[in-house]
């Protein structure tokens, strides 16, 4: 079976569902958009290592699996207990999706102010699908085949709309849990977050699944910030190492809006988290942080594109990677400063720590600047553990393993500290320190 054919076969199963009408609403535009997207994939195929943006992350492994598009209906093995283990309950509104489809029994939609609409994509598709036209109706192909594929399959996900000046205090949790019954699944969650003028919210996305299951999460999240809106976005990717994770977070920002993304990448066999930010209004600010911790045979790819179109915008990126075993990390950060984007202040930083003789990192911070009134910097560093520090700790009585764990943890701690949500930070601290404190290294020695 050739790689190209596989997902198209998977698509074939769903195509029958793409009837032009659904629940009495005319979905002609949607059916057309899905078909266009599918055709685009057929014509352009999947990205390969010859594409600059996919140079370091081979997709062969994913393309070799005969995935089937995940259908609706709760999985049989998902329990509240499992879900709570996968994603610590932050107490506020929580939407849980199993295999990309909403699970009301695990979800909670309380504690929201009146100006906040928090519902599902499926619900909006059923009641007022035209609201989604600006999102699902766009021509695919701006990015790549997987984003287009999400266009083809997307049926559910979160839909959040904050009206003018609405402030949601509690974090809105989105949990994506996947499980299969032996057949490899492709799930295609699609979330839309619209923050009107002056609104504020914190969104926490968590991705997890049943250990040992083979599936691929192919997710697209779109965030639109109007003037003065503020969104803080967390993402914890902790899928099992038998799963694949391909994500696109697309952000558009208007004047004086602020967007922050903090990403923690722990799981998956091959994971790619792509963020695209359009700074379209003056004085908008974006800050993107992330850690990635590939071990075993994991591949963690962070691809970022920040597009400074408007003047006087600020962007910051800080990504740190710890690479162990045969782990492979990729940082591909691209800052574009367009002609006219004067007063741009942009920086990006990527730091990596290699723990094993077979670990690998490819880092590519990129600046592309077409005007002169800018202040842009970038830096990338790859290094190993500081032997002096290690020795120091050992002379103070720490066993080698603990000393190593401590130093690795210190390296990523700066990032964990940036997480302002206390319970989330505590849970991530536990996850990260478990990873470096003991298990991984003891197994290796």
């Amino acid at each position: 079976m050739t790689a190209e054919k596989v997902p198209v076969r998977a698509a074939g199963g769903v195509l029958a569902d793409l009837s032009p009408k659904r629940d009495g609403h005319d979905l002609g535009w949607l059916a057309e958009a899905r078909l266009n997207a599918l055709e685009w994939v057929g014509k352009n195929g999947f990205p390969s290592r010859k594409d600059e943006d996919w140079k370091y992350t081979a997709l062969d492994e994913i393309l070799a699996v005969p995935f089937v598009a995940a259908g609706a209906g709760p999985g049989r093995r998902a329990t509240l207990d499992l879900i709570n283990k996968a994603a610590i309950d932050l107490g506020g509104p929580r939407l849980v999706f199993v295999n990309g489809h909403f699970s009301p029994e695990f979800s909670r939609l309380t504690g929201l102010p009146s100006g906040a609409v928090v519902t599902t994509l499926a619900a909006v598709l059923a009641t007022s699908p035209d609201r989604l036209k600006p999102f699902l109706g766009h021509t695919p192909g701006e990015h790549h085949a997987f984003a287009a594929f999400n266009d083809v399959f997307a049926e559910d996900g979160a839909f959040i709309h904050l009206t003018n000046d609405t402030i949601v205090d509690d974090p809105i949790q989105l949990v994506f849990f996947s499980e299969t019954e032996g057949v490899p699944l492709m799930t295609s969650p699609r979330s839309v977050i619209i923050a009107d003028s002056g609104s504020r919210a914190t969104i926490v996305e968590t991705y997890a699944g049943f250990p040992g299951d083979v599936y691929c999460t192919n997710v697209v999240t779109e965030v639109v910030l109007a003037e003065n809106a503020r969104i803080e976005h967390y993402k914890v990717q902790n899928e099992p190492t038998t799963a694949f994770h391909l994500a696109l977070l697309e952000v558009r920002q208007a004047r004086n809006s602020q967007f922050a993304s903090r990403s923690v990448m722990l799981g998956s066999s091959v994971a790619r988290h792509e963020i695209r930010v359009l700074l379209g209004g003056v004085e908008a600010e974006v800050s993107l942080d992330g850690i990635y911790l590939p071990q075993g045979e994991q591949v963690h790819d962070n691809t970022i594109f920040v597009d400074h179109v408007a003047a006087n915008c600020t962007s910051h990126q800080l990504y740190k990677g710890v690479l162990d075993d045969h782990g492979h990390g990729v940082f591909n950060g691209h800052i574009m400063v367009r002609h006219g984007a004067d007063g741009t202040d942009a920086n990006q930083k990527n730091k990596n720590l290699l723990l094993s003789d077979r670990a690998q990192v490819d880092t590519r911070p990129r600046l592309e600047i077409y005007t002169d009134d800018v202040k842009c910097t970038h830096g990338a560093a790859v290094g190993q553990m500081d032997d002096e520090a290690l020795l120091y700790l050992r002379t103070r009585g720490l066993p080698l393993e603990s000393a190593r764990g401590l130093l690795v943890y210190a390296f990523v701690q700066e990032m964990v500290d940036r997480i302002e949500l206390e319970p989330l930070r505590a849970s991530l601290e536990a996850l990260v320190s478990t990873r470096f404190g003991t298990a991984a290294h003891r197994a290796q020695q």
Binding site: L354, L367, E368, C376, T377, G379, A380, V382
Partner: protein, 487 residues
């Protein structure tokens, strides 16, 4: 068709070939020593025959040509230019002076003004402008003196063609050993059609007694379009080589695709400096040289050191990544670069450092200045292979922007496959400092002079790597190139 026999001049076969070509619509007059336009196996045979080359070299050229015709020009570089018609190029022409003028009065006044600003002596001005004067005779005698001095210590320094005749074993051993014929589109083209260049061999333990610049500059007026340079430093040898000159060189050939190969054996050191000031095209971007060069060094032995320093102010398009393959343990690679793009110039340049040996070290310092509509891209690769235990790299790329329509782009590629590797990359891009400009002007220094002073300061780290006299010239060059960019 077999390779032509070794007689110089016009063999029957070449005559026959020329006649054949003529049938296809070309007009060839062998007496004028110019081949018909276009590229074919026959043209390559003609070049090889004209140069009286051994069969292995012809075979090598043909192998390159046959590979080249399967390639398409690269498109990934951050530059734009119209398609080059490779069949519209004359691949062989006698390198003797063509057009001569009888006095400096006939030389383009703009060119003369630039010579004056750069402080180039009248004699040199005349030579560069192709004025037929007795000075040329003097140059030859000076050159001969240098050559004798070099021969005393066993240094071979001659044209590539001469080396093929006089030292065929050395050429055969090292040609293509660093930049293989199939390396990339332009290197491949060069391998097929190169006409001449320089060859330099420093024997074991010899410290070359002079900068190989003086001699070179006297003879460098006609470097040709497809230049090939090969420098070999044997164990413990040292050489400092200087290419190019600050004088603006106008050339009717738009495409220049040179290849430079450096080989440094154990404990050897090669320092290669370039000042490039080809015609950049006019203010609207018309004309100007396409400078597509492949330069690479092989630090093959333990403790070998290869250092590239470049000051690139000319050419419409500069496309080059001088690199070092750090194969020997403890070997060192360095790259120091100043690239200035003004008017509508474009540069896509940087360095490739490939770490293979243990404890190898590399340093990359790049200073880019973009003015007017200039676009300047740093593109670099730091590749730490799995075998490169204890490898280190430090990279610093700074860009200075002068004017709203200028652009600066920094695209490093860093691949690390060894946990003991340490890589540090830092880059910054900003507008020329307004506070610095005001400070200088407050002290009475006019704006244009202040800009030039600040830019030269920005580049100082690189200039100090150049041989002294050249550093001074390079600074002047930068000043002249920036003129009219301010305001």
């Amino acid at each position: 068709m077999s390779a032509p026999t070794t007689t110089v001049g016009i063999s029957d076969e070449v005559r026959e070939l020329a006649d054949q070509e003529y049938q296809y619509g070309f007009s060839t007059d062998l007496e004028t020593e110019v081949a018909p336009k276009g590229l074919s196996e026959d043209i390559i045979r003609l070049i090889s025959a004209k140069k009286n080359e051994p069969e292995w070299l012809l075979d090598w050229r043909l192998k390159a040509y046959r590979h080249w015709i399967t390639l398409t020009p690269p498109t990934w570089q951050h530059v734009s230019y119209g398609p080059v018609d490779y069949q519209d190029i004359i691949y062989y022409a006698d390198p003797r002076p063509k057009k001569q003028v009888t006095s400096m009065d006939e030389v383009d006044p703009e060119l003369r003004a630039m010579f004056d600003k750069l402080g180039i002596s009248l004699g040199e001005q005349e030579r560069l402008s192709g004025v037929a004067v007795d000075a040329i005779v003097d140059s030859v005698s000076v050159a001969t003196t240098f050559k004798d001095k070099l021969a005393e210590v066993g240094v071979i320094f001659c044209s590539f063609s001469e080396a093929v005749q006089e030292h065929p074993d050395l050429v055969r051993k090292y040609l293509g050993s660093v930049v293989p014929y199939n390396d990339n589109f332009f290197a491949c083209l060069n391998s097929a059609v190169f006409t001449d260049g320089s060859f330099c061999y420093i024997p074991k333990g010899v410290h070359c007694p002079m900068e190989l610049s003086t001699y070179f500059r006297i003879n460098a007026a006609d470097t040709g379009q497809f230049e090939r340079t090969l420098i070999i430093a044997e164990e413990g040898a040292y050489v400092s080589y200087l290419e190019g000159c600050t004088a603006p060189v106008r050339d009717k050939n738009q495409l220049h695709a040179a290849v430079v190969e450096l080989v440094a054996l154990e404990d050897a050191q090669i320092k290669y400096s370039t000042v490039q000031n080809w015609y950049p095209g006019d203010a609207d971007g018309n004309g100007g040289v396409y400078n597509f060069v492949t330069k690479r060094g092989m630090a093959s032995g333990k403790n070998a050191k290869i250092s590239w320093t470049q000051v690139e102010t000319g050419s419409a398009i500069t496309w080059k990544y001088p690199g070092v393959i750090l194969k020997g343990d403890n070997s060192v690679g360095e790259f120091y670069s100043v690239a200035l793009t003004a008017r509508r110039q474009q540069a896509d340049t940087g360095s490739k450092m490939v770490h293979i040996g243990k404890n190898t070290k590399s340093t990359i310092i790049s200073k880019a200045i973009s003015a007017g509509h200039g676009q300047n891209t740093y593109r670099g690769l730091v590749d730490i292979r799995h075998s490169a235990v204890g490898a280190r790299n430090f990279t610093q790329c700074d860009s200075l922007l002068i004017g709203k329509d200028s652009g600066a782009h920094t695209l490093p590629y860093i691949d690390v496959k060894n946990q003991t590797g340490q890589v540090e990359h830092e880059a910054s891009t900003s507008k020329i400092g307004e506070e610095q400009l005001l400070y200088c002007r407050q002290r009475g220094i006019p704006e244009e002079e202040a800009v030039s002073m600040i830019v030269n300061g920005f580049c100082r780290e690189v200039f100090k790597m150049l041989p002294m006299e050249f550093a001074v010239e390079a600074q002047k060059l930068l000043t002249v190139s920036l003129e009219g960019s301010v305001g």
